[in-house]
């Protein structure tokens, strides 16, 4: 045993040969407070560092696509509410957009404006809840989530007075909307918008400058732009890595081309950029909403050609996609002339955003893995379908 003192690093290195350290395999199981539902990660730890992380899906696989093949097109719409249960209007819109391409229907002006208003309100709800859950995952027990859900209730009241349900709106139809706005609804939206911009300033004052949040999220879970593109990451996670790809600008579906909004782009692609991109997107959404509430015309809310509620399209296939708050939500439909689709496939953004979860978490600690999972923003209804 040589008597010369050596630094701790040398001791560790020598130890690896002799004492050596074993690896701890722990299941970040289906029942875990920080996994946003029943998601499981099999983590192998060396000391505190993550050496390997295998995500396990399927605990909420509710066979959405198999049921969709035995239900009529109209009957699928309430099921799309339950895909991403935090943003049901955008899931409705994605499915209805694909079916309108299939059946050749077109929503009239007023319905297009209502769709933009509901989609942007959903973006506000989703991004606020994300900021609340991310802060909760980082240890801010309750306070940000309490404020986030308090504001979410105002928007849910709007959804409820228009469509009849808080979360499961089931409001979009092929060629328009189910029913018209109750009177006083638009004033309600503008009241909520004024309160929301004040709330956003307050929320940013609480979170964005907070040193603990900066320390825990900056430089953590960096996602390079080329890996993000290759892995099919879409939505705020992709834009945080510096890629300018927002379907509202790329596809310009609906009437998004009339709204001059900017797309926030991050540089580093770490957790803080993903959080900050969403906060800035909320501010843009408020701008879009203000313009939509000003410009919404009167008129019919249903396409004249849409006779019956459900459609019975001829054989053919379509892939329609929209920019849901989580990313590119696509619906791939193969119709064979019968009242229910032959093949009904959902392209789930949360599911595919988890492709590179392991690359982002390698070498970091378990607490960082929780922050990274929180910043990717997954909802298990959409991940497992």
């Amino acid at each position: 045993m040589d008597t010369s003192f050596s630094s701790q690093k040398e001791i560790d290195a020598r130890e690896r040969g002799g004492l050596g350290t074993e690896r701890l395999e722990v299941a970040f199981g289906p029942h875990h407070p920080s996994t946003h539902g029943v998601f499981r990660m099999d983590v192998v730890l060396e000391g505190e560092k993550i050496v390997s992380l295998k995500p396990v899906f399927g605990y909420l696989h509710r066979n959405h696509e198999k049921i969709g093949e035995s239900v009529s097109y109209l009957g699928i719409i309430p099921y799309t509410d339950r895909l991403d249960y935090l943003c049901s209007p955008t899931s409705n819109w994605g499915f209805v957009l694909a079916c309108e391409k299939l059946a050749g229907l077109e929503a009239p002006e007023r319905a297009q404006y209502i769709r933009v208003i509901l989609a942007e309100l959903t973006r506000l709800v989703n991004h606020t809840c994300l900021a609340g859950f991310l802060a909760q995952d980082l240890g801010a027990m309750g306070t940000p989530l309490m404020y986030a859900f308090r504001e979410r209730e105002n928007i849910l009241d709007l959804f409820e007075s228009l469509t009849g349900a808080r979360m499961m709106v089931n409001y979009f139809r092929f060629g328009g909307c189910r029913c018209d706005l109750p009177e006083g609804w638009l004033q309600g939206v503008s009241r909520v918008l004024d309160a929301y911009s004040k709330f956003l300033d307050e929320f940013e004052a609480l979170l964005t400058g907070n040193e603990i949040l900066l320390q825990r999220t900056q430089g953590v879970g960096v996602l390079k732009a080329d890996l993000a593109i290759n892995a099919g990451i879409t939505g705020p996670c992709l834009r945080a890595s510096g890629v300018n790809y927002d379907l509202r600008k790329v596809d310009a579906y609906g009437i998004y081309s009339r709204f001059p909004f900017r797309v926030p782009i991050g540089e580093h692609g770490d957790c803080f950029d993903r959080y900050m991109v969403r906060i800035l997107e909320m501010r843009e959404s408020i701008g879009i909403l203000r313009q939509a509430v000003r410009e919404i015309p009167a008129g019919p809310i249903m396409d004249a050609k849409a006779k019956t509620r459900s459609i019975r399209p001829k054989a053919g296939e379509v892939y329609g996609r929209i920019e849901s708050p989580k990313g590119e939500l696509g619906f791939y439909l193969i119709a064979d002339g019968s009242p229910s689709p032959y093949r009904y496939r959902i392209r789930p953004p949360s599911f595919i955003n988890l492709t590179v979860l392991e690359e982002m978490c390698l070498g970091l600690t378990v607490a960082d893995a929780v922050a990274i999972l929180g910043s990717i923003d997954i909802v298990l209804g959409e991940v497992d379908r």
């Binding site: 899906f57 399927g58 696989h61 066979n63 696509e65 198999k66 391409k101 299939l102 050749g104 890996l227 593109i229 290759n230 892995a231 099919g232 990451i233 879409t234 890629v243 790809y245 790329v250 399209p313 001829k314 054989a315 053919g316 296939e317 379509v318 892939y319 996609r321 590119e328 696509g330 791939y332 193969i334 119709a335 093949r343 496939r345 392209r347 599911f351 595919i352 988890l354 492709t355 590179v356 497992d384």
Partner: protein, 181 residues
């Protein structure tokens, strides 16, 4: 983006011995799709990804379709380009039949986004993707034997209490009623 027809022509020129077909799409407004020869799938995919005019770097939707009457299972890839921001090119790979020869080349080495989705096709449709880094069941539990999204899959019988059953659910629930009728 170029029309699928002259993409087909350029592919035919680049890979003369590959059998590539253009499949029309029933819906007028949607583009037709290209049926690729599984043997050349990887080379064609790399070509599509690195070609200067196409740059299809975003395989956004990878899914399986079961055609029991036609006797094969399909893997459908929707390709977009994030760089040039242009629209879908749909490519399809078909297996020889539905029970023995269900092997297709995996395109995960080309597009990483196909990783989880190909595992899902293997889990729910039963197509074995060779060259896939980690082909395991993803949604059903590992011991599960069937491929449930196939059209001829019969769900297990747990229809004891079906008070509002009609048409096909009623037949399934029938044995449980008759015991007490």
């Amino acid at each position: 983006m170029e029309t699928p027809e002259n993409i087909l022509a350029r592919l035919q020129a680049a890979f003369p011995s590959a059998k590539i077909e253009l499949l029309p799409n029933g819906c007028p407004s949607q583009p037709p799709s290209l049926l690729l020869d599984p043997a050349f799938a990887c080379e064609i995919a790399t070509f599509l990804k690195n070609d200067a005019a196409l740059r299809l770097d975003h395989a956004t939707n990878v899914t399986g379709v079961d055609w029991p009457k036609e006797g094969y299972i399909e893997a459908v890839y929707h390709l977009f380009s994030m760089e040039k921001k242009h629209g879908p090119l749909i490519i399809r790979l078909r297996t020889a039949n539905r029970d023995t020869a269900v092997v297709l080349p995996s395109l995960t080495p080309v597009w990483r986004s196909a990783d989880l989705q190909e595992r899902e096709i293997f889990d729910l449709f039963g197509i074995k993707f060779e060259g896939h880094p980690d082909l395991r069941r993803i949604l059903m539990w590992d011991g599960f034997k069937d491929h449930p999204m196939r059209k001829d899959y019969v769900a297990p019988d747990d229809f004891e209490y079906e008070p509002t059953a009609h048409d096909d659910v009623l037949e399934r629930a029938q044995q449980h009623f008759s015991k007490n009728a």
